[in-house]
């Protein structure tokens, strides 16, 4: 019950024990095409280029940025936490000229500030995290695409921590690339990064498309434009592999593809609306329970992610000892925090397969017991009642 990774859905676990297939086997390529179709509604898009990057969520981020950005390009990062800083960290390696528009940890960046920063910095790309688990804040993204279009900038959104739990609306937001990961609200393991790429972004990326010498045949040209700075993360090559051309690149990670497929199937069978409502109910219940215990939540209430809450460690309580007791006595993991929040807050999640009332209640009950053992005076039993009521809405 931390900020992710979390327990996978049992159906996803079972899907991963299926036997493997050759990477160009018709059954395998049919599964690849299914995955493309399954992830379009989850990203809220009709983009044909919707597929997987073989690596963790961070691999998806780097693939998007290194394929969109050339050394010297100006990039504006909307930064309000550890994962905004990660975008700058990755862009630094790419050789981008980076500007940031920042909010303190626990807040989000206003659309006015983003507008002013775009005007000031004339970026070719605006990069932003949707939900930053380090601060538990969700950046509002309605209208960001129009701002970027007006300024001639492309846009990138890291939706790792929200995809499958909060609405992703790539087409309505009008953003160019969105990436995710399985290990949060999609209820799967880390190791595969779903990605969607707009027609405009695909055009920019294909303007740097090359074919590897080792697979080039007599009638194939090498390619055009400066090469993308990474081979593994070269989205032009990865898209040629996922297209009908099936040009060899990496060997698709079959088991992770099965996992990604089963995650998407469970999400769509539940229904996106029902799933977002379930995450919202779990978030409300967890927050209400924590507050009923006398604990204070971290950050701006208006922009809290539904699937993870930051909660201040009360004075006089040893945060790590409580986490150890939660894990040791109850087999429940809650999260520590990064950077300036380390030792100040816990991060408690309820996402994917864990966004269920009984898991929220078990967590609250366990935390109550661990806090009491630490000598923290709290009104016993009220958390469960408050959480149950909040779940009902």
């Amino acid at each position: 019950m931390g900020p992710g990774p979390i327990n996978a859905h049992p159906r996803v676990l079972r899907a991963m024990s299926a036997d493997l297939l050759g990477q160009f086997d018709p059954e395998m390529t049919a599964y690849m095409n299914q995955v493309m179709a399954l992830y379009r509604p989850i990203f809220g898009t009709a983009n044909p280029w919707t597929f997987l990057v073989d690596g963790t969520a961070r691999a998806g981020i780097e693939a998007a940025l290194v394929s969109l950005v050339s050394p010297g390009d100006r990039v504006l990062v909307v930064n309000f936490g550890r994962f905004g800083l990660l975008l700058t960290e990755i862009l630094l390696r790419i050789g981008a000229m980076i500007a940031t528009v920042d909010a303190p940890w626990g807040e989000v960046v206003s659309m006015d500030a983003i507008t002013a920063a775009i005007e000031r910095t004339s970026p070719s790309l605006v990069a932003c995290v949707h939900g930053d688990t380090s601060t538990t804040m969700t950046q509002p993204l309605e209208g960001i695409g129009a701002l970027c279009r007006a300024a001639g900038a492309l846009s990138y959104v890291d939706a790792t921590a929200t995809i499958g739990g909060m609405e992703i609306a790539a087409d309505r937001w009008d953003v160019d690339i969105v990436t995710g990961g399985l290990q949060k609200c999609l209820g799967g393991p880390s190791g595969s990064a779903p990605i969607t790429v707009s027609a405009l972004a695909a055009e920019r990326i294909f303007a740097r498309r090359h074919v590897e010498q080792g697979i080039r045949t007599a009638h194939m040209a090498d390619g055009v434009g400066p090469r993308i700075g990474s081979n593994y993360f070269d989205l032009a090559m990865i898209m040629d592999y996922w297209s009908d051309k099936r040009l060899n690149h990496h060997t698709e990670a079959t088991t992770m593809l099965y996992a990604a497929r089963e995650c998407a199937r469970t999400v769509l069978e539940e229904g996106l609306g029902a799933r977002y409502a379930r995450h919202a109910a779990a978030g409300r219940a967890m927050a209400a329970g924590l507050q009923a215990m006398g604990l204070s939540l971290f950050g701006d209430d208006r922009h809290r992610m539904t699937n993870v809450a930051g909660v201040y460690i009360p004075d006089g309580v040893d945060g790590e000892r409580v986490r150890t007791a939660m894990r040791g006595q109850f087999q429940i993991e809650i999260g520590t925090a990064f950077g300036p929040l380390q030792g100040r807050i816990w991060r408690i999640g309820a996402m994917g397969y864990n966004a269920m009332l009984h898991k929220v209640l078990l967590t609250l009950g366990a935390l109550e017991a661990c806090l009491a053992a630490e000598g923290f005076a709290l009104p016993g039993g009220v958390a469960i009642r408050a959480a149950t009521q909040a779940w009902e809405g």
Copy 2:
């Protein structure tokens, strides 16, 4: 029964349906430490830095090269096939000054040629593939480390296609980084890249170590040296994550770690010597069976990989129609070929869980039937006898 990916060992498939763990859970970090210990004998090394890169085998290659090489560094690539060309392709993106010492497809590069090329080009790194499945050749590596040490160069070996099936002797070869993949002789799925790093290579890599701003605490310095060109593939950061520091980087791909662990356990339980002998027997049997059918093998007999054979498509036979019939009628996949060999050879493998006599015999029997259906005159039944005798040695 192609050049990989292949069928995974059933124990590996089952291991992947185990429930997930938090990335800093003591049970998880204990598994990480087990994986480090399990892969040392498989790599033939005592290197403490033996771990996993989260991505396909190609991710391991890029992580090694981008962490060892800075833009402008001179690198010598020992090139005898598609995967030697892949090394140059990746190095091109890193901005290396690349020289190659080449052999025609189907041969290997002599140690004399490598010696002369090192003298001529004074590289800071020599990079080489061990077994190149595109040509089915194995590059001899005894003595290569001493050559590199004498010239002050580091060395890198891509052992994707041989690890777990042919001997890898990182310490005896005295090479600095070796990487692999699970999807060939280790009998697992694509998606995790085992890697071993020598003390000297680790020192060079740590000379470029940085700590991400988002996880830096007050007492932590940023870092030293020019940043490695990729964040995801920054081995200094990945090693800080796999070390007792457990500094957050990517979220370890839990299921793929379970797979890598179970692959190594099955390998070590069988015993490395027995396993290499089994692959050699399967290779002998397959080659003898193909030749008994009247087919000709591709490439230099002295340097053939034990786990995959290239075989010429006979005149008048449609290679793709045979592959389709093998898959359609017998559910057996055999491989096509890349670049200059496309349409000229098939690549038929027997590796990992598939390096078993009955699978070799079933493949030969099916191929005999498909060739006969194509009107290729061949002496019926002799392949099975020849293969069985060759298996016995």
